[in-house]
Protein backbone atom coordinates (compact mmCIF):
# COMPACT_ATOMS: atom_id res chain seq x y z
CA UNK A 1 0.00 0.00 0.00
CA UNK A 2 2.45 2.60 1.14
CA UNK A 3 5.60 2.37 -0.87
CA UNK A 4 7.50 5.47 -0.03
CA UNK A 5 7.96 6.60 3.52
CA UNK A 6 7.67 10.29 2.89
CA UNK A 7 6.08 12.78 5.24
CA UNK A 8 2.72 12.82 3.51
CA UNK A 9 2.51 9.03 3.71
CA UNK A 10 3.41 9.08 7.37
CA UNK A 11 0.84 11.77 8.04
CA UNK A 12 -1.74 9.79 6.16
CA UNK A 13 -1.06 6.55 8.05
CA UNK A 14 -1.11 8.43 11.33
CA UNK A 15 -4.45 10.03 10.49
CA UNK A 16 -5.82 6.74 9.26
CA UNK A 17 -4.86 5.02 12.46
CA UNK A 18 -7.06 7.29 14.49
CA UNK A 19 -9.84 6.65 12.01
CA UNK A 20 -10.02 10.07 10.41
CA UNK A 21 -10.38 9.07 6.83
CA UNK A 22 -12.73 6.72 5.16
CA UNK A 23 -11.43 7.07 1.62
CA UNK A 24 -8.81 4.99 -0.07
CA UNK A 25 -5.88 7.28 -0.70
CA UNK A 26 -4.36 10.40 0.70
CA UNK A 27 -4.00 11.58 -2.86
CA UNK A 28 -7.67 12.47 -2.77
CA UNK A 29 -6.78 14.95 -0.09
CA UNK A 30 -4.30 16.62 -2.38
CA UNK A 31 -6.62 16.58 -5.37
CA UNK A 32 -8.97 19.08 -3.80
CA UNK A 33 -7.59 22.41 -4.92
CA UNK A 34 -9.49 24.43 -2.37
CA UNK A 35 -8.22 22.33 0.49
CA UNK A 36 -4.68 22.54 -0.77
CA UNK A 37 -4.77 26.31 -1.12
CA UNK A 38 -6.44 26.55 2.28
CA UNK A 39 -3.88 24.27 3.87
CA UNK A 40 -0.96 26.26 2.51
CA UNK A 41 -2.57 29.53 3.60
CA UNK A 42 -3.42 28.24 7.07
CA UNK A 43 0.04 26.81 7.59
CA UNK A 44 1.64 30.10 6.55
CA UNK A 45 -0.72 32.04 8.81
CA UNK A 46 0.22 29.77 11.71
CA UNK A 47 3.92 30.10 10.87
CA UNK A 48 3.63 33.89 10.80
CA UNK A 49 1.72 33.86 14.08
CA UNK A 50 4.44 31.79 15.72
CA UNK A 51 7.40 33.82 14.56
CA UNK A 52 5.78 37.26 14.68
CA UNK A 53 6.52 37.97 18.37
CA UNK A 54 10.17 37.37 17.55
CA UNK A 55 10.39 39.55 14.47
CA UNK A 56 8.34 42.63 15.43
CA UNK A 57 10.51 45.63 14.60
CA UNK A 58 9.04 47.92 17.29
CA UNK A 59 7.20 47.57 20.56
CA UNK A 60 3.55 47.22 19.49
CA UNK A 61 2.13 49.11 22.47
CA UNK A 62 4.71 51.81 23.03
CA UNK A 63 3.45 55.36 22.41
CA UNK A 64 5.61 57.67 20.36
CA UNK A 65 3.74 60.95 20.11
CA UNK A 66 6.35 62.63 17.92
CA UNK A 67 5.76 60.02 15.21
CA UNK A 68 1.95 60.11 14.91
CA UNK A 69 0.19 59.36 11.61
CA UNK A 70 3.32 58.66 9.59
CA UNK A 71 2.56 57.23 6.15
CA UNK A 72 4.22 53.96 5.14
CA UNK A 73 7.96 54.43 4.69
CA UNK A 74 11.16 52.40 4.86
CA UNK A 75 11.39 52.80 8.64
CA UNK A 76 7.69 52.09 9.26
CA UNK A 77 6.54 49.81 6.46
CA UNK A 78 2.84 50.05 7.32
CA UNK A 79 3.01 53.59 8.79
CA UNK A 80 2.12 54.62 12.32
CA UNK A 81 -1.18 55.17 14.09
CA UNK A 82 -2.66 57.94 16.23
CA UNK A 83 -0.31 57.17 19.13
CA UNK A 84 2.74 56.79 16.92
CA UNK A 85 2.77 53.02 17.30
CA UNK A 86 4.23 51.03 14.44
CA UNK A 87 1.35 49.41 12.54
CA UNK A 88 3.45 46.58 11.10
CA UNK A 89 4.39 45.50 14.62
CA UNK A 90 0.80 45.70 15.76
CA UNK A 91 -0.49 43.78 12.75
CA UNK A 92 2.13 41.09 13.33
CA UNK A 93 1.33 40.79 17.02
CA UNK A 94 -2.34 40.61 16.14
CA UNK A 95 -1.80 37.31 14.31
CA UNK A 96 -1.14 35.06 17.34
CA UNK A 97 -3.89 36.83 19.30
CA UNK A 98 -6.46 36.26 16.58
CA UNK A 99 -5.33 32.70 16.01
CA UNK A 100 -5.49 31.92 19.71
CA UNK A 101 -8.96 33.45 19.88
CA UNK A 102 -10.22 31.33 16.99
CA UNK A 103 -8.71 28.06 18.12
CA UNK A 104 -9.47 28.33 21.83
CA UNK A 105 -13.09 29.33 21.35
CA UNK A 106 -13.61 26.41 18.98
CA UNK A 107 -11.92 24.17 21.56
CA UNK A 108 -14.43 25.33 24.17
CA UNK A 109 -17.31 24.73 21.77
CA UNK A 110 -16.20 21.22 20.86
CA UNK A 111 -15.29 20.25 24.42
CA UNK A 112 -18.90 20.78 25.44
CA UNK A 113 -20.92 20.13 22.31
CA UNK A 114 -19.26 16.83 21.37
CA UNK A 115 -20.14 14.91 24.57
CA UNK A 116 -23.47 16.71 24.78
CA UNK A 117 -24.44 15.88 21.20
CA UNK A 118 -23.16 12.31 21.49
CA UNK A 119 -25.11 11.49 24.62
CA UNK A 120 -28.40 13.17 23.71
CA UNK A 121 -28.27 11.61 20.27
CA UNK A 122 -27.49 8.20 21.72
CA UNK A 123 -30.06 8.24 24.51
CA UNK A 124 -32.89 9.61 22.40
CA UNK A 125 -36.39 9.63 23.81
CA UNK A 126 -37.69 12.09 26.34
CA UNK A 127 -34.37 13.38 27.63
CA UNK A 128 -33.23 14.11 24.11
CA UNK A 129 -36.47 15.87 23.30
CA UNK A 130 -36.30 18.13 26.34
CA UNK A 131 -32.62 18.90 25.94
CA UNK A 132 -33.05 19.67 22.27
CA UNK A 133 -35.94 22.02 22.98
CA UNK A 134 -33.65 23.88 25.37
CA UNK A 135 -30.89 23.80 22.79
CA UNK A 136 -33.23 25.19 20.12
CA UNK A 137 -34.14 28.00 22.44
CA UNK A 138 -30.58 29.21 22.35
CA UNK A 139 -30.55 28.85 18.57
CA UNK A 140 -33.67 31.04 18.42
CA UNK A 141 -31.53 34.01 19.46
CA UNK A 142 -29.31 35.18 16.57
CA UNK A 143 -25.72 34.31 17.53
CA UNK A 144 -24.34 37.83 17.57
CA UNK A 145 -27.14 38.88 19.92
CA UNK A 146 -26.45 35.88 22.13
CA UNK A 147 -22.80 36.88 22.27
CA UNK A 148 -23.75 40.47 23.04
CA UNK A 149 -26.11 39.32 25.78
CA UNK A 150 -23.39 37.21 27.38
CA UNK A 151 -20.68 39.83 27.05
CA UNK A 152 -22.94 42.42 28.61
CA UNK A 153 -22.80 40.28 31.74
CA UNK A 154 -19.03 40.44 31.70
CA UNK A 155 -18.65 41.92 35.17
CA UNK A 156 -20.60 38.99 36.61
CA UNK A 157 -18.45 36.53 34.70
CA UNK A 158 -15.32 38.26 35.94
CA UNK A 159 -16.59 38.10 39.48
CA UNK A 160 -17.06 34.34 39.35
CA UNK A 161 -14.51 33.01 36.89
CA UNK A 162 -11.58 35.17 37.98
CA UNK A 163 -9.42 34.34 34.95
CA UNK A 164 -6.39 36.62 34.73
CA UNK A 165 -6.40 38.97 31.76
CA UNK A 166 -3.18 40.02 30.06
CA UNK A 167 -2.73 43.14 27.97
CA UNK A 168 -2.62 41.14 24.79
CA UNK A 169 -5.19 38.47 25.49
CA UNK A 170 -8.63 38.71 27.00
CA UNK A 171 -10.21 35.32 27.80
CA UNK A 172 -13.80 36.52 28.34
CA UNK A 173 -14.74 37.15 24.70
CA UNK A 174 -13.26 33.74 23.92
CA UNK A 175 -15.51 32.09 26.48
CA UNK A 176 -18.51 34.01 25.22
CA UNK A 177 -17.89 33.05 21.59
CA UNK A 178 -17.23 29.44 22.54
CA UNK A 179 -20.47 29.25 24.49
CA UNK A 180 -22.43 31.00 21.74
CA UNK A 181 -21.40 28.38 19.21
CA UNK A 182 -22.27 25.38 21.41
CA UNK A 183 -25.99 24.95 20.56
CA UNK A 184 -25.43 24.96 16.79
CA UNK A 185 -22.48 22.59 17.00
CA UNK A 186 -24.42 20.28 19.30
CA UNK A 187 -27.13 19.88 16.67
CA UNK A 188 -24.61 18.79 14.08
CA UNK A 189 -22.90 16.28 16.39
CA UNK A 190 -26.26 14.96 17.55
CA UNK A 191 -27.56 14.31 14.07
CA UNK A 192 -24.31 12.56 13.13
CA UNK A 193 -24.73 10.36 16.21
CA UNK A 194 -28.33 9.54 15.37
CA UNK A 195 -27.20 8.47 11.92
CA UNK A 196 -24.96 5.81 13.49
CA UNK A 197 -27.17 4.78 16.36
CA UNK A 198 -28.78 1.89 14.52
CA UNK A 199 -25.60 0.47 13.02
CA UNK A 200 -25.02 -3.18 13.76
CA UNK A 201 -21.85 -2.69 15.73
CA UNK A 202 -23.70 -0.39 18.11
CA UNK A 203 -26.41 -3.00 18.58
CA UNK A 204 -23.76 -5.65 19.14
CA UNK A 205 -22.18 -3.49 21.80
CA UNK A 206 -25.50 -3.01 23.52
CA UNK A 207 -26.05 -6.75 23.45
CA UNK A 208 -22.65 -7.28 25.04
CA UNK A 209 -23.89 -5.09 27.85
CA UNK A 210 -21.45 -2.24 27.41
CA UNK A 211 -22.13 1.00 29.21
CA UNK A 212 -23.46 4.02 27.37
CA UNK A 213 -20.23 5.95 27.78
CA UNK A 214 -18.22 3.04 26.35
CA UNK A 215 -20.44 2.82 23.28
CA UNK A 216 -20.49 6.58 22.79
CA UNK A 217 -16.77 7.21 23.19
CA UNK A 218 -15.34 3.96 21.83
CA UNK A 219 -17.76 3.08 19.06
CA UNK A 220 -19.59 6.18 17.89
CA UNK A 221 -17.00 8.89 18.46
CA UNK A 222 -14.29 7.31 16.24
CA UNK A 223 -16.83 7.18 13.44
CA UNK A 224 -17.85 10.83 13.59
CA UNK A 225 -14.35 12.28 13.74
CA UNK A 226 -14.70 13.64 10.23
CA UNK A 227 -17.88 15.51 11.17
CA UNK A 228 -16.18 16.96 14.24
CA UNK A 229 -13.11 18.03 12.27
CA UNK A 230 -15.23 19.69 9.61
CA UNK A 231 -17.33 21.41 12.25
CA UNK A 232 -14.24 22.72 14.02
CA UNK A 233 -12.50 23.74 10.82
CA UNK A 234 -15.47 25.72 9.60
CA UNK A 235 -16.08 27.35 12.96
CA UNK A 236 -12.58 28.76 13.41
CA UNK A 237 -13.20 31.36 10.71
CA UNK A 238 -16.56 32.13 12.24
CA UNK A 239 -15.06 32.54 15.71
CA UNK A 240 -12.43 34.90 14.33
CA UNK A 241 -15.12 36.99 12.62
CA UNK A 242 -17.18 37.10 15.78
CA UNK A 243 -14.21 37.90 18.02
CA UNK A 244 -13.00 40.75 15.85
CA UNK A 245 -16.56 42.01 15.50
CA UNK A 246 -16.89 42.15 19.28
CA UNK A 247 -13.57 43.96 19.46
CA UNK A 248 -14.74 46.42 16.82
CA UNK A 249 -17.91 47.08 18.80
CA UNK A 250 -15.75 47.87 21.82
CA UNK A 251 -16.90 44.76 23.68
CA UNK A 252 -14.06 42.34 23.03
CA UNK A 253 -10.35 42.91 23.37
CA UNK A 254 -9.53 46.09 25.25
CA UNK A 255 -6.84 48.67 24.46
CA UNK A 256 -3.91 48.56 24.06
CA UNK A 257 -4.19 45.00 22.75
CA UNK A 258 -3.21 44.84 19.08
CA UNK A 259 -6.36 42.90 18.15
CA UNK A 260 -7.23 43.63 14.53
CA UNK A 261 -10.89 44.40 15.19
CA UNK A 262 -9.91 46.94 17.81
CA UNK A 263 -7.26 48.45 15.53
CA UNK A 264 -9.86 48.92 12.81
CA UNK A 265 -12.21 50.56 15.31
CA UNK A 266 -9.46 52.96 16.44
CA UNK A 267 -8.40 53.67 12.87
CA UNK A 268 -11.95 54.57 11.84
CA UNK A 269 -11.78 57.78 13.86
CA UNK A 270 -8.80 58.94 11.78
CA UNK A 271 -10.01 57.42 8.56
CA UNK A 272 -9.16 60.27 6.21
CA UNK A 273 -6.03 61.30 8.04
CA UNK A 274 -4.30 57.92 7.97
CA UNK A 275 -6.09 55.38 5.76
CA UNK A 276 -3.12 52.99 6.11
CA UNK A 277 -3.93 52.34 9.75
CA UNK A 278 -7.30 51.02 8.56
CA UNK A 279 -6.17 49.20 5.44
CA UNK A 280 -3.40 47.00 6.85
CA UNK A 281 -5.27 45.41 9.77
CA UNK A 282 -8.26 44.95 7.42
CA UNK A 283 -6.07 43.09 4.96
CA UNK A 284 -4.54 40.92 7.66
CA UNK A 285 -7.91 40.02 9.15
CA UNK A 286 -9.48 39.26 5.79
CA UNK A 287 -6.51 37.15 4.77
CA UNK A 288 -6.73 35.07 7.92
CA UNK A 289 -10.48 34.52 7.49
CA UNK A 290 -10.09 33.66 3.80
CA UNK A 291 -7.45 31.07 4.75
CA UNK A 292 -9.60 29.36 7.34
CA UNK A 293 -12.71 29.55 5.17
CA UNK A 294 -10.84 27.98 2.29
CA UNK A 295 -9.39 25.31 4.56
CA UNK A 296 -12.71 24.52 6.23
CA UNK A 297 -14.63 24.50 2.96
CA UNK A 298 -12.12 22.18 1.32
CA UNK A 299 -12.09 19.94 4.36
CA UNK A 300 -15.84 19.66 4.16
CA UNK A 301 -15.78 18.89 0.46
CA UNK A 302 -13.45 15.97 1.18
CA UNK A 303 -14.69 14.57 4.46
CA UNK A 304 -18.37 15.34 4.31
CA UNK A 305 -19.20 15.64 0.62
CA UNK A 306 -22.91 15.02 0.97
CA UNK A 307 -23.61 17.98 3.18
CA UNK A 308 -24.48 21.14 1.33
CA UNK A 309 -24.14 23.21 4.45
CA UNK A 310 -22.63 26.51 3.52
CA UNK A 311 -19.69 27.75 5.51
CA UNK A 312 -21.89 30.46 6.87
CA UNK A 313 -22.73 28.83 10.16
CA UNK A 314 -25.32 31.10 11.70
Amino acid sequence: MIHKANTMNLLYTALKKIGLFSFKSYQLLLLNKKFLVGLVLVLSVIAIAIISPLIVPYNPIEFNISKRFQPPSTTHWFGTDNYGRDILSRVLMGAPITLLLGISSVAITLAISVPFGLFTGFWGGRIDEVLMRVNDTFIAIPSLFMALLLISMRSTLELYLKIPTTWWFDPYPVIVIGVTMIPRATRVIRSATIGLKNEEYVHACKARGETASYIVFREILPNIWSTIIVEGGIRIAYAIIMGSTLAFLGLGASPPAPAWGLMIYEAKAYLYLSPWSLIFPSLALSLMIVSFNCFGDGLRDILDPRSRRSILVE
Binding site: D136, T137, S143, F145, K268, L312, E314
Partner: protein, 337 residues
Protein backbone atom coordinates in the same frame (compact mmCIF):
# COMPACT_ATOMS: atom_id res chain seq x y z
CA UNK B 1 -56.56 18.61 -19.02
CA UNK B 2 -58.54 15.45 -19.68
CA UNK B 3 -56.91 13.29 -17.07
CA UNK B 4 -57.39 15.64 -14.16
CA UNK B 5 -60.42 13.81 -12.82
CA UNK B 6 -58.82 10.41 -12.59
CA UNK B 7 -55.65 11.84 -11.12
CA UNK B 8 -57.57 13.50 -8.34
CA UNK B 9 -58.40 10.11 -6.89
CA UNK B 10 -54.87 8.84 -7.13
CA UNK B 11 -53.20 8.49 -3.71
CA UNK B 12 -50.01 10.06 -4.98
CA UNK B 13 -51.76 13.11 -6.36
CA UNK B 14 -51.03 16.15 -4.32
CA UNK B 15 -53.11 18.56 -6.31
CA UNK B 16 -55.98 18.61 -3.86
CA UNK B 17 -53.84 19.88 -1.04
CA UNK B 18 -54.91 23.45 -1.26
CA UNK B 19 -52.31 25.81 0.15
CA UNK B 20 -54.75 27.67 2.36
CA UNK B 21 -56.18 24.52 3.90
CA UNK B 22 -52.73 23.11 4.48
CA UNK B 23 -51.64 26.26 6.22
CA UNK B 24 -54.75 26.47 8.35
CA UNK B 25 -54.16 22.89 9.40
CA UNK B 26 -50.61 23.42 10.64
CA UNK B 27 -50.99 26.98 11.82
CA UNK B 28 -52.17 26.22 15.38
CA UNK B 29 -49.29 23.82 15.94
CA UNK B 30 -46.70 26.17 14.51
CA UNK B 31 -48.05 29.06 16.55
CA UNK B 32 -47.98 26.94 19.69
CA UNK B 33 -44.34 25.98 19.12
CA UNK B 34 -43.53 29.59 18.36
CA UNK B 35 -45.07 30.80 21.60
CA UNK B 36 -43.35 28.05 23.57
CA UNK B 37 -39.99 28.96 22.04
CA UNK B 38 -40.57 32.63 22.73
CA UNK B 39 -41.45 31.80 26.31
CA UNK B 40 -38.25 29.76 26.71
CA UNK B 41 -36.23 32.52 25.07
CA UNK B 42 -37.64 34.98 27.57
CA UNK B 43 -36.57 32.63 30.38
CA UNK B 44 -33.06 32.49 28.90
CA UNK B 45 -32.80 36.26 28.53
CA UNK B 46 -34.18 36.81 31.99
CA UNK B 47 -31.89 34.31 33.63
CA UNK B 48 -28.77 35.59 31.92
CA UNK B 49 -29.46 39.22 32.69
CA UNK B 50 -31.29 39.16 35.95
CA UNK B 51 -30.89 35.97 37.96
CA UNK B 52 -27.25 35.15 37.40
CA UNK B 53 -25.30 35.80 40.57
CA UNK B 54 -24.07 39.35 40.75
CA UNK B 55 -27.45 40.53 39.56
CA UNK B 56 -28.60 43.37 37.34
CA UNK B 57 -28.09 46.10 39.90
CA UNK B 58 -24.49 45.08 40.27
CA UNK B 59 -23.95 44.85 36.53
CA UNK B 60 -25.61 48.23 35.96
CA UNK B 61 -23.57 50.08 38.52
CA UNK B 62 -20.27 48.34 37.95
CA UNK B 63 -17.62 46.94 40.18
CA UNK B 64 -16.96 50.00 42.29
CA UNK B 65 -20.51 50.97 43.20
CA UNK B 66 -21.38 51.76 46.78
CA UNK B 67 -23.46 49.31 48.78
CA UNK B 68 -26.26 51.85 49.18
CA UNK B 69 -26.56 52.59 45.48
CA UNK B 70 -26.74 48.88 44.70
CA UNK B 71 -29.39 48.39 47.37
CA UNK B 72 -31.47 51.29 46.06
CA UNK B 73 -31.36 50.03 42.48
CA UNK B 74 -32.18 46.51 43.64
CA UNK B 75 -35.40 47.77 45.17
CA UNK B 76 -36.14 49.90 42.11
CA UNK B 77 -35.76 46.89 39.80
CA UNK B 78 -37.66 44.63 42.17
CA UNK B 79 -34.63 42.43 42.69
CA UNK B 80 -35.38 42.04 46.39
CA UNK B 81 -38.46 39.91 45.66
CA UNK B 82 -38.35 36.15 44.94
CA UNK B 83 -37.09 35.14 41.50
CA UNK B 84 -40.39 33.70 40.27
CA UNK B 85 -42.21 36.82 41.26
CA UNK B 86 -39.68 38.92 39.41
CA UNK B 87 -39.95 36.82 36.29
CA UNK B 88 -43.74 36.87 36.20
CA UNK B 89 -43.86 40.62 36.65
CA UNK B 90 -41.20 41.07 34.01
CA UNK B 91 -42.92 38.84 31.48
CA UNK B 92 -46.36 40.27 32.22
CA UNK B 93 -45.03 43.74 31.48
CA UNK B 94 -43.75 42.59 28.08
CA UNK B 95 -46.96 40.79 27.24
CA UNK B 96 -48.92 43.94 28.06
CA UNK B 97 -46.59 45.82 25.72
CA UNK B 98 -45.13 47.87 28.53
CA UNK B 99 -41.37 47.75 28.06
CA UNK B 100 -40.51 49.63 31.27
CA UNK B 101 -38.10 52.52 31.37
CA UNK B 102 -34.52 52.81 30.30
CA UNK B 103 -32.16 53.06 33.26
CA UNK B 104 -29.85 55.47 31.52
CA UNK B 105 -32.09 57.53 29.26
CA UNK B 106 -34.88 57.68 31.83
CA UNK B 107 -37.55 57.48 29.13
CA UNK B 108 -40.00 54.68 28.26
CA UNK B 109 -38.34 52.06 26.09
CA UNK B 110 -41.19 51.26 23.73
CA UNK B 111 -41.38 54.43 21.60
CA UNK B 112 -37.65 54.61 21.00
CA UNK B 113 -37.45 50.88 20.37
CA UNK B 114 -40.22 51.01 17.78
CA UNK B 115 -38.71 54.01 16.06
CA UNK B 116 -35.29 52.36 15.83
CA UNK B 117 -36.88 49.13 14.72
CA UNK B 118 -38.55 51.02 11.87
CA UNK B 119 -35.22 52.45 10.73
CA UNK B 120 -33.55 49.05 10.92
CA UNK B 121 -36.36 47.44 8.95
CA UNK B 122 -35.93 49.93 6.12
CA UNK B 123 -32.23 49.11 6.02
CA UNK B 124 -32.82 45.38 6.34
CA UNK B 125 -35.47 45.31 3.62
CA UNK B 126 -33.31 47.26 1.20
CA UNK B 127 -30.40 44.90 1.86
CA UNK B 128 -32.66 41.88 1.48
CA UNK B 129 -33.96 43.20 -1.82
CA UNK B 130 -30.42 43.77 -3.05
CA UNK B 131 -29.31 40.31 -1.95
CA UNK B 132 -32.24 38.55 -3.56
CA UNK B 133 -32.25 40.38 -6.88
CA UNK B 134 -28.51 40.56 -7.41
CA UNK B 135 -27.81 37.13 -5.95
CA UNK B 136 -30.38 35.34 -8.08
CA UNK B 137 -29.41 37.30 -11.18
CA UNK B 138 -25.72 36.46 -10.77
CA UNK B 139 -26.49 32.88 -9.80
CA UNK B 140 -28.67 32.25 -12.86
CA UNK B 141 -26.14 33.90 -15.14
CA UNK B 142 -23.30 31.80 -13.75
CA UNK B 143 -25.44 28.67 -13.82
CA UNK B 144 -26.24 29.10 -17.51
CA UNK B 145 -22.69 30.04 -18.43
CA UNK B 146 -21.05 27.43 -16.23
CA UNK B 147 -17.23 27.55 -16.06
CA UNK B 148 -17.09 30.69 -18.17
CA UNK B 149 -14.81 33.55 -17.24
CA UNK B 150 -17.72 35.36 -15.63
CA UNK B 151 -18.58 32.30 -13.55
CA UNK B 152 -15.04 31.90 -12.28
CA UNK B 153 -14.67 35.59 -11.51
CA UNK B 154 -17.92 35.64 -9.55
CA UNK B 155 -17.01 32.54 -7.61
CA UNK B 156 -13.52 33.73 -6.63
CA UNK B 157 -14.64 37.25 -5.73
CA UNK B 158 -17.65 35.81 -3.94
CA UNK B 159 -15.42 33.62 -1.84
CA UNK B 160 -13.20 36.53 -0.89
CA UNK B 161 -16.15 38.80 -0.16
CA UNK B 162 -17.76 36.37 2.18
CA UNK B 163 -14.59 36.23 4.22
CA UNK B 164 -14.53 39.95 4.84
CA UNK B 165 -16.42 40.94 7.99
CA UNK B 166 -19.02 43.67 7.62
CA UNK B 167 -17.14 46.16 9.71
CA UNK B 168 -14.09 45.84 7.48
CA UNK B 169 -15.96 46.25 4.19
CA UNK B 170 -18.11 49.00 5.71
CA UNK B 171 -15.11 50.99 6.89
CA UNK B 172 -13.41 50.54 3.53
CA UNK B 173 -16.58 51.70 1.77
CA UNK B 174 -16.57 54.85 3.86
CA UNK B 175 -12.94 55.40 3.01
CA UNK B 176 -13.47 54.95 -0.72
CA UNK B 177 -16.98 56.24 -1.40
CA UNK B 178 -17.53 58.81 1.32
CA UNK B 179 -14.14 60.36 1.73
CA UNK B 180 -10.89 61.23 0.11
CA UNK B 181 -11.29 59.14 -3.04
CA UNK B 182 -14.85 59.80 -4.16
CA UNK B 183 -17.21 61.79 -2.04
CA UNK B 184 -20.44 60.35 -3.41
CA UNK B 185 -22.29 59.37 -0.26
CA UNK B 186 -22.48 60.75 3.26
CA UNK B 187 -20.39 58.74 5.72
CA UNK B 188 -23.24 57.87 8.02
CA UNK B 189 -26.37 58.89 9.88
CA UNK B 190 -29.94 58.68 8.68
CA UNK B 191 -32.74 61.05 7.75
CA UNK B 192 -36.40 60.29 7.19
CA UNK B 193 -37.71 60.08 3.64
CA UNK B 194 -39.70 63.25 4.27
CA UNK B 195 -36.41 65.17 4.07
CA UNK B 196 -36.14 64.27 0.42
CA UNK B 197 -35.45 61.13 -1.56
CA UNK B 198 -31.73 61.55 -2.27
CA UNK B 199 -30.72 62.49 1.31
CA UNK B 200 -32.65 59.43 2.47
CA UNK B 201 -31.44 56.87 -0.04
CA UNK B 202 -27.86 58.14 -0.10
CA UNK B 203 -27.51 57.32 3.57
CA UNK B 204 -28.95 53.84 2.99
CA UNK B 205 -26.95 52.71 -0.04
CA UNK B 206 -23.58 52.12 1.62
CA UNK B 207 -24.90 50.30 4.72
CA UNK B 208 -27.27 48.18 2.63
CA UNK B 209 -24.53 47.26 0.18
CA UNK B 210 -22.20 46.32 3.04
CA UNK B 211 -24.89 44.04 4.41
CA UNK B 212 -25.48 42.59 0.97
CA UNK B 213 -21.94 41.51 0.24
CA UNK B 214 -21.57 38.54 2.57
CA UNK B 215 -24.87 36.89 1.77
CA UNK B 216 -24.75 37.82 -1.90
CA UNK B 217 -21.95 35.34 -2.53
CA UNK B 218 -23.90 32.53 -0.85
CA UNK B 219 -27.10 33.28 -2.69
CA UNK B 220 -25.31 33.45 -6.02
CA UNK B 221 -23.44 30.22 -5.31
CA UNK B 222 -26.55 28.35 -4.18
CA UNK B 223 -28.66 29.57 -7.09
CA UNK B 224 -25.86 28.64 -9.48
CA UNK B 225 -25.53 25.07 -8.25
CA UNK B 226 -29.27 24.39 -8.18
CA UNK B 227 -29.64 26.03 -11.58
CA UNK B 228 -27.01 23.68 -13.00
CA UNK B 229 -28.79 20.74 -11.42
CA UNK B 230 -32.19 21.76 -12.73
CA UNK B 231 -30.89 22.46 -16.23
CA UNK B 232 -29.64 18.88 -16.34
CA UNK B 233 -33.06 17.48 -15.41
CA UNK B 234 -35.43 15.63 -17.68
CA UNK B 235 -38.22 18.14 -17.64
CA UNK B 236 -35.93 20.89 -18.83
CA UNK B 237 -34.80 18.61 -21.63
CA UNK B 238 -38.43 17.92 -22.46
CA UNK B 239 -39.18 21.62 -22.53
CA UNK B 240 -36.23 22.21 -24.84
CA UNK B 241 -37.19 19.33 -27.10
CA UNK B 242 -40.69 20.72 -27.31
CA UNK B 243 -39.04 23.61 -29.07
CA UNK B 244 -39.52 26.29 -26.45
CA UNK B 245 -37.10 29.13 -26.69
CA UNK B 246 -34.25 29.13 -24.19
CA UNK B 247 -35.44 32.24 -22.36
CA UNK B 248 -38.78 30.64 -21.65
CA UNK B 249 -37.19 27.37 -20.55
CA UNK B 250 -34.98 29.16 -18.07
CA UNK B 251 -37.48 31.64 -16.72
CA UNK B 252 -40.59 29.46 -16.59
CA UNK B 253 -39.33 25.93 -16.15
CA UNK B 254 -35.93 26.01 -14.53
CA UNK B 255 -35.84 29.10 -12.36
CA UNK B 256 -38.92 28.34 -10.33
CA UNK B 257 -37.57 25.00 -9.19
CA UNK B 258 -34.05 26.27 -8.79
CA UNK B 259 -35.18 28.89 -6.33
CA UNK B 260 -36.26 26.58 -3.52
CA UNK B 261 -32.75 26.00 -2.07
CA UNK B 262 -32.07 29.72 -2.43
CA UNK B 263 -35.21 30.51 -0.45
CA UNK B 264 -34.08 28.09 2.27
CA UNK B 265 -30.67 29.71 2.37
CA UNK B 266 -32.17 33.18 2.67
CA UNK B 267 -34.46 32.03 5.46
CA UNK B 268 -31.71 30.23 7.36
CA UNK B 269 -29.51 33.28 7.28
CA UNK B 270 -32.06 35.77 8.49
CA UNK B 271 -30.31 35.68 11.86
CA UNK B 272 -27.02 36.41 10.18
CA UNK B 273 -28.58 39.43 8.51
CA UNK B 274 -29.79 40.65 11.90
CA UNK B 275 -26.32 40.29 13.38
CA UNK B 276 -24.91 42.03 10.32
CA UNK B 277 -27.31 44.93 10.83
CA UNK B 278 -25.90 45.51 14.33
CA UNK B 279 -22.38 45.79 12.97
CA UNK B 280 -23.30 47.88 9.95
CA UNK B 281 -25.31 50.28 12.07
CA UNK B 282 -22.32 50.80 14.31
CA UNK B 283 -20.03 51.39 11.36
CA UNK B 284 -22.33 53.93 9.71
CA UNK B 285 -23.75 55.48 12.91
CA UNK B 286 -27.18 54.46 11.69
CA UNK B 287 -29.85 55.03 14.34
CA UNK B 288 -31.32 51.52 14.34
CA UNK B 289 -32.11 48.72 16.73
CA UNK B 290 -28.59 47.31 16.60
CA UNK B 291 -26.94 50.52 17.66
CA UNK B 292 -29.51 50.89 20.40
CA UNK B 293 -28.51 47.44 21.68
CA UNK B 294 -24.81 48.21 21.54
CA UNK B 295 -25.17 51.50 23.38
CA UNK B 296 -27.41 49.80 25.96
CA UNK B 297 -24.66 47.24 26.54
CA UNK B 298 -21.98 49.90 26.81
CA UNK B 299 -24.11 51.77 29.35
CA UNK B 300 -25.22 48.60 31.17
CA UNK B 301 -28.85 49.50 30.63
CA UNK B 302 -30.35 46.13 31.58
CA UNK B 303 -34.05 46.77 30.76
CA UNK B 304 -33.04 48.10 27.35
CA UNK B 305 -30.81 45.07 26.66
CA UNK B 306 -33.61 42.71 27.65
CA UNK B 307 -36.16 44.51 25.48
CA UNK B 308 -33.99 44.71 22.36
CA UNK B 309 -32.81 41.10 22.50
CA UNK B 310 -36.34 39.86 23.16
CA UNK B 311 -37.72 41.84 20.23
CA UNK B 312 -34.96 40.56 17.94
CA UNK B 313 -35.55 36.96 19.02
CA UNK B 314 -39.31 37.38 18.49
CA UNK B 315 -38.71 38.72 15.00
CA UNK B 316 -36.31 35.92 14.20
CA UNK B 317 -38.68 33.22 15.42
CA UNK B 318 -41.69 34.63 13.59
CA UNK B 319 -39.65 35.01 10.42
CA UNK B 320 -38.77 31.33 10.62
CA UNK B 321 -42.41 30.35 11.04
CA UNK B 322 -43.39 32.62 8.15
CA UNK B 323 -40.79 30.99 5.93
CA UNK B 324 -42.05 27.55 6.91
CA UNK B 325 -45.53 28.51 5.82
CA UNK B 326 -44.20 30.09 2.65
CA UNK B 327 -42.61 26.77 1.70
CA UNK B 328 -45.98 25.15 1.86
CA UNK B 329 -47.39 27.66 -0.56
CA UNK B 330 -44.45 27.37 -2.95
CA UNK B 331 -43.96 23.64 -2.90
CA UNK B 332 -46.88 21.22 -2.52
CA UNK B 333 -44.52 18.46 -1.36
CA UNK B 334 -44.09 20.29 1.93
CA UNK B 335 -47.79 20.28 2.68
CA UNK B 336 -49.08 17.85 5.28
CA UNK B 337 -51.52 15.10 4.25
Amino acid sequence: MPCKKSLARHPLNQGDRKPLIAILRVLPQRLAIMILTLFLVSVVIFSITQILPGDAAYTSLGQYASEEAVKKLRIELGLDTPVWNQYINWLAAFVRGDFRESLILGIPIRPILLQRLGNSSVLGLLAFLEITCLGIFLGVLCGIKKDSLLDQTVSIFGFIWLSIPEFVSGSLFILFFAGTFWKIFPAGGYVAISEGFWPWISRLILPATTLTLILLAYVARMTRSSMIEVLRSNYVRTARLKGLDEKRVILRHALRNALMPTATLLANNFGWLMGGIVVVESVFSFPGLGRLTISAIHQRDIPMIQATVLVVAALYISANVAVDLLYMILDPRNRPD
